[in-house]
């Protein structure tokens, strides 16, 4: 076979593959890459959105790392991620396993919808509703808590309880979505595996631990990855329920801090610096996570 005959075939394949990725590539470039690069440029300026940006070197970054509230917001964000992600992953997995084992009945249908509906609603709306449920003395939640002598209207004002309260609510909101992902994966496991295990005399725990759990590992890594990114970017719930308070930084997260500087204080350059630091942190953690999860048995096809 001559070289002339081999080349045209390869060329045609290259063109069509570029066409397939072109729409997504354009979206990624225009809505992700370019804004990120613009934000990098603006982070080196003093800019209030109304007048011309003035280059101010690394002043924004210098001010950022001297800012006690920003440092606390980064710590809070990390705490939020390392508590919310395991919490919602475990809850989602256990609930999906229970629904899968029990099959379709009114109880499982109710739990499935009750957990999934909050993930369909706007988180801001959920936050406002939760605030009302906690603070209104005649709310069902208040009535329920009062039976045990507890007062939920103390939670959001307490420096010790406010952040854990937000974490619990975020876990409850997010777990429904991941439960559906797990459920789809669980339903894909062939029943013959379980039947064979039962014939071999395996207990329920052994079946779960030796069959279900290992087969769910790739899905778990996906859920952790998606959950981590979502938790890092979590904004609506904190903003509507506490605004970062009580006090200056009790529940302040990096995204809320970014919003305040960008939209309320019109310090766009400083806000962009916050955003870029956050992008860097997420990128590093994602790379680490992918390295740790990069074993062959974890690949999700």
């Amino acid at each position: 076979m001559s070289k002339e005959l081999a080349y045209p075939r390869r060329k045609k394949q290259d063109w069509s593959s570029y066409l397939y990725i072109l729409p997504m590539l354009a979206i990624v470039i225009f809505f992700w890459i370019i804004p990120i690069l613009i934000s990098v440029v603006l982070s080196f300026t003093q800019y209030n959105a109304l007048s011309t940006p003035h280059f101010n070197g690394v002043e924004n970054y210098k001010a950022l790392f001297e800012d006690r509230i920003f440092r606390q917001s980064l710590i809070n964000t990390l705490i939020f991620v390392i508590t919310v992600v395991p919490g919602q992953t475990i809850l989602a997995f256990l609930t999906a396993s229970w629904i899968d084992r029990k099959g379709k009945n009114p109880a499982t249908q109710f739990v499935r919808w009750a957990m999934f509906i909050p993930s369909l609603a706007s988180v801001s709306i959920v936050g406002i509703v939760c605030r009302i449920l906690l603070n209104n003395p005649s709310s069902p939640l208040n009535t329920l808590f009062s039976l045990f002598g507890l007062n939920p209207s103390l939670l959001l004002g307490s420096e010790k309880a406010a952040f854990p309260t937000l974490i619990v609510i975020e876990i409850l909101i997010g777990s429904g979505y991941y439960m559906v992902i797990y459920l789809a994966a669980l339903l894909d496991i062939p029943h013959s595996y379980y039947e064979a295990a039962k014939i071999d005399g395996a207990s329920q725990f052994q079946i779960f631990w030796k069959i279900t759990f290992p087969l769910m590992r790739p899905m778990t890594l996906l859920v952790i990855l998606l959950g981590s990114i979502s938790a890092f970017q979590s904004f609506d719930l904190v903003y509507t329920m506490t605004g970062g308070g009580p006090g200056r930084s009790t529940t302040m997260t990096a995204m809320v801090y970014l919003y305040l500087y960008s939209f309320k204080y019109s310090k766009i350059g400083f806000a962009m610096a916050i955003g870029n630091v956050l992008i860097l942190v997420i990128a590093v953690l994602t790379i680490v996570q992918r390295r740790l999860a990069g074993r062959k048995e974890n690949i999700l096809y």
Binding site: L37, L50, S158, G243, R248, L260, F263, Y265
Partner: protein, 447 residues
């Protein structure tokens, strides 16, 4: 081959990024003239001009458009102009306004509250009305007085007289039960707060409180009821005339100490005061008759909540601090002429019409707002009308404009929350706020 394509794509992408970045950084220079309205409609020769107005959505039943269409109809006819309105939610108003102005798609005539002004003045985006106002205007408007100036000048005209004035509301029935009269001074407030905080049903739990006040608001809005009045009554202020923060004055510390003591020394606030916003505290404790005092905005909706209560109530705007000073915060939001308006003469005519004895008075009649022109009938709320008129010159005032005020107010609010939670002393709290505020640039930008 793929390598060459990769290079080409990379080069094109980089060029695009740099072009867009430069475009973004180029921005719009201060005071430049973007291609904003008024635009021309219709055919040449018989064109109808268009003026665009942006307002916050204020009507509780959502009929802003209906009200304003009725108000501006005579103006449109007289000037052959089409006035178009955009009603924006309070929550998004500032962000929308900022993005509109920065992209050259803002309004010709707008609406601003005190906190908004400095940024737009510094950017040259809002007109200084010194050259527009005539002697007749000064004689017509009751709000064209010194206390409504921004940085010593008029940049807008108030849409109405003082609104949402912060006052002290008291439960007369509780005061009678503890042998007290209506409070007139801080000493009265402290004494009443202590005496009213009681276990009334003898179950060992406090069920009646001295003051229904909430400190759980997520941003600085509740400074309107929980702070400005107190610092003015103490004889102080947050900023001086140059914009320097002077909150750590003796007066500022006295105001902070009063609030700190009411909660932490006299335990006169409900247990969940740090979770509730001020309105929630009012609804949960004062409205059911379980609190003697509340500091709230005295609007019609506030008093409507008390209509079904089984107790008598009263209110005052004239609470006096230790040296007899008084202060009641009012919002006096203004209609402004934007510098981007091409036909400024027509835009100014619209500002005057929307606020003056014709259109403005009609708006105030339709919405039950306080008057702002001489000789205008008062359509304000009956319950507060008389008290407002009596306290207008003695107590009622808007907050002072200052650069970076939004950032300072947020910091102040959150520092007050820490103080009320007992983490920081009143003196340290005020010092921290002053230090933070004065570390920010508060000088006018060089022209």
């Amino acid at each position: 081959m793929a390598h060459i394509w990769g290079k080409r794509i990379g080069t094109t992408g980089l060029a695009t990024v740099l072009t867009l970045s430069m475009a973004a950084c180029g921005g719009q220079s201060a005071g430049s003239d973007p291609s904003a309205a008024p635009t021309q409609g219709g055919s040449e020769g018989e064109s109808t001009k268009v003026l665009e107005v942006w307002l916050p959505a204020k009507a509780t039943d959502g009929n802003d458009a209906e009200i304003w269409d009725e108000v501006v109809a005579p103006f449109e006819e007289e000037h052959n102009v089409d006035v178009t309105f955009q009603f924006i939610s309070w929550k998004d108003y500032e962000a929308k306004y900022s993005s509109g102005i920065s992209t050259g798609t803002g309004p010709d005539v707008g609406y601003m509250y005190v906190e908004m002004f400095p940024t737009y003045i510094d950017a040259g985006a809002v007109e200084d009305l010194s050259n527009y106002l005539t002697e007749e205007d000064y004689a017509t408007y009751t709000t064209l007085t010194d206390k409504y100036k921004i940085f010593g000048k008029f940049y807008g005209i108030a849409q109405s007289g003082p609104q949402a004035v912060s006052g002290l509301v008291y439960n007369k029935t509780i005061l009678d039960s503890i042998g007290e009269e209506a409070p007139k001074t801080w000493d009265d407030v402290i004494r009443i707060a202590q005496k009213a905080t009681q276990d009334t049903d003898g179950d060992g739990k406090i069920d009646q409180y001295g003051v229904a006040q909430g400190w759980g608001q997520t941003f600085y809005q509740d400074l309107n009821w929980n702070w400005y009045n107190f610092i003015w009554q103490a004889g102080g202020d947050i900023f001086d005339d140059e914009g320097k923060c002077i909150i750590n004055s003796e007066q500022g510390i006295a105001a902070a100490q009063l609030l700190y003591d009411l909660k932490n020394t006299y335990n006169a606030f409900p247990e969940d005061t740090m979770s509730l916003i001020n309105n929630e505290a009012f609804d949960n404790y004062f409205v059911p008759g379980n609190a003697a005092l509340a500091f709230v905005g005295t609007s019609e909706s506030t008093f409507n909540k008390l209509a079904d209560g089984d107790f008598e109530y009263g209110f005052t705007y004239d609470l006096q601090g230790p040296n007899g000073d008084m202060g009641a915060r009012a919002s006096v939001d203004q209609i402004v002429l934007m510098s981007a308006c091409e036909d400024k003469e027509l835009g100014w005519e619209l500002v005057k019409y929307m606020t003056g004895p014709e259109g403005g008075a009609k708006y105030r009649e339709l919405t039950g707002s306080a008057p702002s022109t001489v000789g205008e009938e008062d359509h304000g709320y009956e319950v507060t009308k008389e008290a407002l008129a009596a306290s207008l010159d003695t107590s009622i005032r808007p907050i002072k404009a200052a650069r970076r005020a939004t950032e300072v107010y947020d910091f102040l609010w959150k520092t007050l929350q820490e103080m009320m939670n007992g983490n920081v002393s009143p003196e340290d709290a005020m010092n921290e706020v002053a230090e933070f505020a004065n570390s920010l640039d508060y000088a006018a930008p060089a022209n």
